[in-house]
């Protein structure tokens, strides 16, 4: 099933109209159409689980395969319009495919040092976030989910501004952005599948400071996202333990939700370094998310390091990535998930199901996993690359990136992909 999503922003329509108009007078404009795509097969060598929604024992093409088209119309050196659409697995459900407008923005570059964009833009959260879907622009077969899942690719309707300072041999960039987007947060309940999507409206704003000199890029960013539940479900605030009279298994502890919130905020701090000295490239990034309102939501730290070395057309690489929720969140999860539901509340008048605590635990955003990847890229050219990667992921107490019983499990994933751009 292929769904063409309705554009939410009138500005996006305006941008498309501008591009179409531009193409009619292309003789006077610089109109460029480009594209990119990835065909990727991934298989997990483990039964009864799925990683990143689709990667399971049966293998899948859906996890990373996509095709994108981008059109740019440059009216003059200052003004241009860019529209990008991508067909891929959907972000709002697990089945089928969708084609969606990712970018649609007007650019204004009044001089060498300023760039302003308005429309649908992508926040530059991590080094490869803006180009995450363009496989030829990085070595890895898949960007480490431990870090790149901290900020899923949410394109926001708003504005972005870039200020550049050029000094002798170095460059400093300050990127700022603000925007809104309607998204769907996915939660997979191992005890109550299938996965459910909860509609949210996000308002994101942030700033990223980058410094590049010679082979080294350093960057750091601060981002704040306000989340507003737009569906029936609200954000959990806390679970309160209630003592049920009687000896186990009749009595015991029952965890009940307390203080649901319709809105909350998430802070994200990012740091990164990218060092390129031919034939070597070392990239490392770190991210820390904090939801001050609740320990049940995202409160974690993530990092990865990738070392790659080019041998002519071949570039082998190794990556290690780690993602860990803060101790308080992990402890709450473990307490809720591992506590048997007292028999006294499984009957009248509450009639709670025996897996009530497990479902409640699945609702907590908790991550405890690390991955090691060994892979290689073969470049036919700078715009045509084949990649192969072997990844071993180990889960601690659990991980919301895995569907299925994940506790204390390890699994291997093989990925073979071909990426191109034109």
């Amino acid at each position: 099933m292929l769904t063409i999503h309705r554009w939410g922003s009138p500005l996006a329509w305006l941008v498309l109209l501008s591009l179409l108009t531009a193409s009619r007078v292309a003789m006077a404009l610089d109109v460029q159409v480009s594209g990119f795509g990835t065909l990727s097969y991934a298989r997990a060598f483990e039964h009864d689980l799925a990683y990143l929604r689709y990667i399971d024992y049966d293998g899948t093409f859906k996890a990373d395969s996509l095709f994108g088209l981008q059109g740019e119309a440059r009216f003059n050196p200052q003004w241009s319009v860019t529209v990008q659409a991508v067909a891929s697995a959907p972000r709002t459900r697990d089945d089928g495919y969708e084609a969606k407008v990712r970018w649609a923005f007007v650019s204004f570059r009044p001089d060498n040092d300023w760039l302003l964009r308005g429309g649908r833009v992508r926040p530059p959260v991590f080094i490869n976030t803006p180009n995450a879907e363009v496989g030829v622009t990085y070595e890895s077969a898949r960007l480490p989910a431990e870090v790149y899942s901290l900020s899923p690719i949410y394109d926001v309707d708003g504005a972005a501004i870039t200020k550049t300072w050029n000094t002798e041999g170095s460059e400093i960039n300050l990127d700022g952005y603000w925007g809104k987007a309607d998204v769907n947060y996915r939660a997979h309940y191992q005890a109550d599948p299938p996965a459910r999507y909860f509609p949210e409206r996000i308002t994101a704003k942030g700033a990223v400071l980058s410094y590049s000199s010679g082979p080294t890029l350093l960057r750091g960013g601060f981002h704040h996202v306000e989340l507003k539940a737009t569906g029936a479900e609200q954000f959990p605030h806390e679970y309160v333990p209630i003592a049920i009279p009687g000896s186990p298994p009749v009595g015991g502890t029952l965890y009940v939700p307390n203080g649901a919130m319709s809105e909350t905020g998430v802070r994200l701090v990012t740091l990164g370094i990218d060092w390129r000295a031919e034939p070597w490239r070392v990239t490392a990034e770190y991210g820390k998310r904090r939801t001050p309102d609740s320990d049940l939501l995202v409160n974690d730290q993530s990092a990865y390091v990738t070392v790659a070395r080019r041998f002519n057309a071949w570039t082998p690489y190794a990556t290690y990535a780690r993602m860990l929720s803060r101790a308080n969140t992990r402890n709450i999860y473990q307490s809720v998930y591992d506590t048997p539901v007292p028999l006294a509340v499984q009957g009248a008048p509450l009639f709670l199901p025996a897996n009530y605590h497990r479902v409640a635990g699945d609702g907590i955003s908790v991550f405890d996993q690390h991955s090691a990847m060994l892979g290689a890229l073969y470049g036919f050219s700078s715009t045509s690359k084949m990649k192969i990667e072997w990844m071993r992921t180990s889960i601690g107490i659990t991980s919301s990136l895995v569907d299925g019983e994940a506790q204390n499990r390890s699994f291997n994933v093989l990925t073979i992909s071909y990426s191109m751009a034109f």
Partner: protein
């Protein structure tokens, strides 16, 4: 008249078989040209223009143009003026395009088209073979080597 030609071919084949190459043939000169109104630029600034980092000089827009990929003159320009190979240049613009910070210089399939564009577009910058007899109406910015 045939003997010298055969002599060259035999020598080249023999050198090739030995893993050697004849002395490098001098590379053709590349002339960087621009619209008559375009300000003069340094080599460093020219590199930044082709990397999309400089779009105006003293308030006047500059518009770099390129020949199509695979063009021999383009390869010479890349090597002699921008000091990088074409593949890396394409890779650079592939990233820059898909982080939403611009698109590569407009490409022309022939030198004639490029020259016509430069002549008629204020701020346009391009390049030609230094031996080509098409310089009238163009401003010479630099010659390489």
């Amino acid at each position: 008249m045939r003997k010298p030609m055969w002599h060259i071919i035999v020598c080249a084949t023999a050198l090739g078989a030995m893993g050697m190459t004849p002395a490098a043939v001098p590379r053709p000169s590349v002339l960087v040209v621009a619209h008559a109104d375009t300000p003069s630029v340094s080599e460093d600034t020219l590199q930044k223009i082709y990397l999309g980092k400089v779009v105006e000089i003293d308030g006047k827009p500059v518009i770099p143009v390129n020949l199509a990929r695979g063009n021999a003159l383009r390869k010479d320009f890349m090597g002699q003026v921008l000091a990088q190979d074409d593949d890396k240049y394409i890779a650079y613009w592939t990233v820059r395009r898909y982080i939403g910070k611009g698109s590569p210089p407009r490409e022309f399939s022939s030198v004639e088209e490029q020259i016509e564009y430069i002549r008629t577009t204020p701020g346009a910058v391009g390049y030609i073979d230094a031996n080509a007899d098409v310089k009238s109406g163009l401003k010479t910015l630099m010659r390489k080597p």
